[in-house]
Symmetry: C2
Subunit: 124 residues, 2 copies
């Protein structure tokens, strides 16, 4: 496991456990978090921890996959809340100090298959 993969695994473990001090120590003081789909951005460790700490719902996080090299990593997680499961895909950058400096967060939603490819696909 690369250092980045280990840091991302700890990030999600602390998040799921609501261990906000330990969670916060994994991100840089000037961490930037972005959601390209809503064009939202959060700057700074304190605000970012607060965003997670106050995220609504009695949610749990299950890590499906972490893929990382030395300085970048990607997590695929299941976000479980109110009997539903959403997929979260996060791209992480790590800085020189081994802290997470940038997170890009995607939330793909279900959609109906486009027409015209039924002859090539099956449904599951």
């Amino acid at each position: 496991m690369t250092d980045a993969a280990d840091i991302i695994a700890r990030y999600w473990a602390h998040c799921d456990a609501r261990e906000w001090d330990q969670f916060g120590r994994l991100v840089a003081e000037d961490v930037v978090y972005e959601v390209p789909q809503s064009r939202e951005r959060i700057r700074g460790r304190d605000t970012y921890v607060e965003f997670n700490r106050t995220y609504p719902g009695d949610w749990r996080i299950a890590v499906e996959r972490i893929t990382a090299d030395d300085r970048h990593g990607v997590s695929w997680t299941s976000f479980l809340v109110d009997g539903t499961t959403q997929t979260g895909l996060c791209f992480f950058d790590l800085g020189d100090a081994g802290l997470i400096t940038h997170i890009t967060d995607f939330w793909p939603e279900p959609f109906e298959p486009p027409p015209g490819r039924e002859h090539l696909t099956e449904r599951y």
Copy 2:
């Protein structure tokens, strides 16, 4: 660059160039492609190449990022078609033969920010 990162880079280069023979040689004969959002699945190299070869529109692919370890990789691409840009996120598994055996493809769409976090976020 890991072998997986190199294979994924070649996969997208051949796809963008419509070099379908070379593209097909990067995936296993029994490759499985899945789109969790639409619950579509494609099985097999020939069908998978045909799916890509006949994908509608005069599209181009720009690779934004590839993150990979030895046997897994993730690509973040921009899919440019008809003056619009869509984000594509693909998770790849590689098999013993160094070929791509499984692809999971996500297409996150824009959404409006949920209420209640305006005090923590900026828009961009």
